[in-house]
Amino acid sequence: MRRVGVLFGVIALLSGAAPAQQEIEDAAPAETAAVARGPSPAVMAPKAAKNRLLDITTAGPRLVAVGQQGVILTSDDGTAWTQSPSPVSTMLTRVHFTDAKAGWVLGYDATILQTADGGATWVLKHHDPKGRALYDLLFLDSNNGIAIGAYGTMLVTTDGGATWTARDDALTGLGMHLNALQKLADGTLFIAGERGLMARSTDAGATWSILDSPYAGSLFGAMPHGDKGALVYGMRGNVYAATDLASCPVVDPATWDPYARETVADAEKIAALGWRKIESPVRESLFGAVPLASGGALLIGVNGTTLKLDAGAATITAVKTPAVETLAKGVRFGEHVFAVGRRGVEDLGAAP
């Protein structure tokens, strides 16, 4: 509901010439739901590698990328791409491999696909047209896995992904988008999400604590930082690092009000929360991070923004790449960094 409130604000803001929203009630004849529900397989799309893709990863020696219209692509060299048949044509948001052969794909409509052959064939494990989009996934062992997604969605499996059950607890009850799920070096699980949401679990996801976040904007990604720390990035070039997540103060979920929260500006106050802000030269949203061999990372995002975080996570500098449109995620492949985004796969060049 609150979302709708925001939307009306936007319309008032943007559009004097807006047509056609006045008669939503007597809109489309509801009785003629013409399309049989249920996923339809993705069409084979020769130009998929040049169009909107959302995630890319390596599966052994090959690259696997996923994106709009149920597209799943594999490549041995980053140049020639082959589309794998996909049982769904919904937007796919995430691809994750646990080894060279076993992998998972997440998407809209709570879609979960599984492969056992390195991405050549995919089996539908979960799909619900009324379900939310899933954004990230983690397997703790071969049986236990967690998938997170929009509006506080969390699905868990204890049978290796054959069945998935929705979790309902204090964290999911907040209804915030859960964007990134990471396992830190010390085994702590970490979630970053909408409106600065941060949560940690030290019991393999059984219970979650909400951290007192220094930031009120959305966090789109996270990566482990040191042995027991995390690094988060999100809206408008905001990047924060914590060296010891266990020391971060927690808040009571009942009092965590996303609309009352404000970004903490003072460095000392941020430090008191266990975090450190790393200033970015570009104020564009960051969607992905590619760990570099040197220890730092490349951060990528809106309008082809590419930033280099140094090994000590102290400074961020802009990197020039051929990309002009928004990038979502990237991966190191050989000497190069490959990213995906609105224009499909882009070779960002040799890793700095």
Binding site: V10, L13, I24, M91, S285
Partner: protein, 846 residues
């Protein structure tokens, strides 16, 4: 010889009526003709170049019905792109941005521009949405506090990327910015939707309605004739020359050493075409001079040559005068017609003058007697040949594309002029004309005849068995070869760039520059997806469109697909914190309503009630194969892949849609037109000669030339299109002309008891050499077209040169060989005089 010995009663009866008018009251007739010529001359002087866009499209084609129906909502295909390229860095330089702003402002004042559809990054409809912590920000790409400062440039750079206009309004390398305009065919102030709907109806329906609405027979006739004759877009039609000048002014104003201005679009093509077509005027003069010179050499008398040239000019005057009198303009395609008229008129004039001179020099006739005799012998076959031409030209009226129809009407007017000139004016003029130095003329003629005779004697051998078998076999082999090449002839355009203009023209250079830098170009196919009111808040409808877009986007030959779907996804992402993974269609109707409400109808993507959406499919080129593949893909999707059948996908709009319709119309008509032309010609031949021999001897060479024409087109990569379709019909018309003149003399000889060889020899001495001459003359006349700046005129020129020459060879070489096999049939009419008492003219008056 007495009148009683002849028995062609019908032709005699006609001549009995016509002769007194022409020869009896020749002073009166001549005065009248002069007056009419003066009147039409005045009209033709006011003729203006005019190329309407609607004229060049098949308005009755289903695609065009869709086009017309949604013209108001989605615009048409009449897009103009002005690209400004900065050679000193990217577009985010204060100086360049100022130039762009001024140019975008100027674009509003181009005549006929649809001001609601002028798009550039300066347009208020181009905006972006950005997420900031705890809220949203949205702004025009060019902020309202715009000033040409470096800080502002940095802001604009960010906004441009967020607004997703790279590839659309800003080039990939961000050194070029586009101003995109849409022109209204009718002036926005005077044209109404009703007019366009009216125009969208098929001609037959409109005629029927006009007939039904008339109160009495008089009113009915008036309504129908107005409809038939009025120039539909003459009044409110857009003046493309003005548009072109306005565009050139923008180019001149803003093009500097650092900034180049590229302009592409149909309006520019028309302007360039109109300008280039003016050079055809020069060709006309040169052709006229050449023709006069050839005539002089051929006839051996300068004044006689001038009489033929000037009477032919009178025929052209009639043609152009009549054209203007009924309200047509002269479009670049129709410029062909005056050349044809000129050629046909000279061809007939030469026949007449040489026969006349022959009477004088060999039989000592008075000019009056000579003219009457010539009239009697040539009037009937001449008029038959001309009527065959008229009918041949008229068949192209079947193609429901106005520019072709105008060409057909235009040619018919010209033929009226030719008939008048050669069967009335020229006979009268010659009856007064005293050949100076008859003795000298006679000697010269005799000398030429002796030289000619030697050649013609040898040529007459063609009527013997041996040569006849060889020639006939070659002819049939060529025909078979031509037929085998037919499948290789492309429909539509076979080249890159704008096919009307040469590949190296400024326009095509501009087009390449724009195509290289932008994912959208001028070439786009628009598909209209009809659903129901508020269809765009129905997820299934939108999802169907999404699947369809994706399907089309992945076809070969598609650069990009743009529609409400893409913008809705962007808006949804904007409302979802700018996440790339939120560039999807939300399922909830409320959410769909919110995001589609952000897209104004002025984008041309949706109607006011959202019961129809337009999908812009930008294509890599407009080759016929590409177009067919895409329309087939749309049909395949609609038939086999579409899931939500409540959505109706309708072809087509956009320039590619128009080309698809045109190509389909051409494809549908090209064979029928050929069949009709031949049907009519063969019927005429039968009526003229009443022998199968006549039909075959003229028809077979003609058909061979037509078939070989296909081989020429295939070999040179000339496609069947609006410009070339009429050429085949015209070439047939001229070819039959040669044939009739040649065969009628041969047949007349045979009927008088000559052997075939002798009859052919006599034919060559009289009409044969005239045919030889006119074939060469006409080929020379259109040869110059090969140097035209307009590719289609070049193509037309090549085909006509081929058609004229090949038909001449057919009439001179192939016809006698065929006659060897067939012409015995003529003997059944033995004793009948085909020349309608020409000989008596001299005897009677003595």
């Amino acid at each position: 010889m007495s009148v009683a010995t002849t028995s062609t009663g019908f032709t005699r009866a006609i001549l009995r009526v016509v002769e007194p008018v022409i020869f009896g009251k020749r002073v009166l007739t001549l005065t009248l003709l002069m007056l009419i010529t003066a009147f039409l001359g005045w009209h033709s002087a006011q003729l203006r170049p005019n190329a309407g866009w609607l004229k060049m499209v098949p308005q009755a084609h289903p695609y065009m019905q869709t086009f017309m129906q949604y013209y108001q909502d989605f615009g048409g295909a009449n897009t103009v792109l002005i690209a400004l390229k900065n050679h000193k860095g990217d577009i985010y330089q204060p100086e360049f941005m100022e130039t762009l702003r001024k140019a975008a402002d100027d674009a509003f004042f181009i005549p006929g521009v649809d001001r609601a559809r002028v798009n550039s990054i300066f347009s208020p409809s181009i905006l972006y949405i950005e997420v900031v912590e705890g809220g949203l920000a949205g702004e025009n790409v060019i902020p309202s506090d715009y000033a040409a400062t470096p800080e502002m440039m940095a802001r604009i750079r960010g906004n441009v990327a967020k607004a997703n206009v790279i590839g659309r309004l800003v080039s990939e390398d961000q050194t070029t910015a586009l101003i995109q305009l849409e022109l209204l065919e009718t002036d926005p102030n005077s044209g109404t939707t009703k007019d366009r709907e009216e125009l969208a109806k098929p001609m037959l329906q409109r005629l029927r309605e006009a007939w039904q609405n008339g109160s009495d027979v008089g009113a009915k006739l008036k309504a129908v004739s107005t409809l038939l004759t009025k120039n539909e877009d003459a009044k409110a039609g857009l003046d493309y020359v003005q548009v072109g000048e306005a565009l050139e002014k923008i180019r001149a104003k803003y093009e500097t050493g650092d900034i180049t201005v590229h302009i592409v679009g149909f309006a520019k093509v028309v302007d360039d075409m109109t300008k280039a077509s003016m050079q055809v005027g020069v060709f006309f003069v040169v052709a006229l001079l050449l023709m006069g010179l050839l005539l002089w050499i051929y006839i051996g008398s300068f004044p006689l040559a001038m009489i033929v040239v000037s009477t032919s000019l009178v025929a052209c005057t009639w043609e152009l005068g009549l054209l203007h009198a009924i309200g047509y303009g002269l479009d670049p395609f129709a410029l062909l017609v005056p050349f044809l008229i000129m050629s046909v008129s000279v061809s007939h004039g030469v026949q007449y003058v040489s026969a006349w001179a022959n009477e004088i020099s060999t039989r000592d006739a008075t000019p009056y007697q000579a003219s009457l005799a010539t009239f009697r012998s040539l009037a009937i076959p001449g008029v038959v040949a001309l009527l065959a031409n008229v009918v041949g030209f008229s068949t192209i009226y079947l193609i429901n594309i106005q520019v072709i129809r105008e060409m057909s009407v235009n040619a018919a007017f010209g033929m009226a002029g030719v008939i008048m000139v050669n069967k009335m004016l020229l006979p009268i003029v010659l009856s007064y004309f005293r050949l100076p130095n008859v003795e000298g003329f006679r000697r010269a003629t005799e000398l030429r005849d002796r030289l000619g005779d030697a050649v013609f004697r040898r040529m007459a051998l063609l009527t013997r068995r041996g040569p006849a078998i060889v020639v006939t076999t070659i002819c049939l082999l060529l025909a078979a070869f031509g037929a085998s090449q037919y499948h290789r002839v492309q429909i539509g355009d076979t080249t890159d760039g704008v096919p009307e203009l040469r590949p190296d023209s400024r326009f095509n250079q501009d087009a390449r520059a724009v195509a290289a830098n932008f994912s959208m170009g001028v070439d786009h196919l628009k598909v209209i997806a009809e659903s129901f009111d508020d269809g765009c808040i129905d997820y299934d409808v939108m999802a169907e469109m999404d699947r369809f877009s994706w399907y089309m986007k992945n076809q070969d030959g598609v650069r990009d697909v743009l529609s409400l779907i893409e913008l809705a996804k962007l808006a949804n992402s904007g409302l979802s914190e700018g996440r790339l993974d939120a560039e999807v269609l939300p399922r909830a109707p409320e959410s769909l309503a919110q995001i589609t409400a952000l897209v104004p109808t002025t984008t041309g993507f949706l109607t006011d009630t959202c019961d129809a959406l337009a999908l812009f499919i930008f294509t890599t080129d407009h080759k016929a194969d590409t177009i067919t593949a895409l329309t087939d893909a749309v049909k395949h999707y609609a038939d086999d892949l579409q899931q939500d059948k409540r959505v109706k996908l309708r072809l087509a709009s956009g320039n590619i849609g128009v080309m698809a319709a045109t190509n389909e119309e051409v494809r549908r008509n090209e064979l029928p037109v050929v069949f009709y032309v031949y049907g009519v010609i063969l019927l005429f031949l039968w009526l003229s000669f009443r022998t199968v021999s006549g039909v075959l001897c003229i028809g077979i060479p003609l058909a061979t030339v037509t078939l070989l024409g296909y081989a020429v087109m295939a070999a040179l990569g000339i496609g069947q299109k609006v410009a070339t379709l009429p050429v085949l019909a015209f070439a047939c018309g001229i070819g039959v002309d040669y044939g009739i003149y040649s065969y009628s003399v041969v047949a007349a000889g045979l009927r008088k008891g000559l052997t075939l060889e002798e009859a052919y020899f006599q034919k060559m001495r009289s009409t044969g050499k005239a045919t030889l001459f006119t074939g060469a003359g006409m080929a020379v006349g259109v040869l110059l077209w090969i140097f035209s700046d307009l590719q289609f005129q070049k193509d037309m020129g090549i085909l006509l040169v081929f058609g004229f020459t090949a038909n001449m060879i057919g009439a001179i070489v192939v016809l006698p060989s065929l006659a060897h096999f067939f012409s015995k049939e003529e003997l059944k009419h033995a004793g009948k005089d085909l020349t309608a008492g020409a000989d008596d003219a001299i005897d009677d008056k003595r």
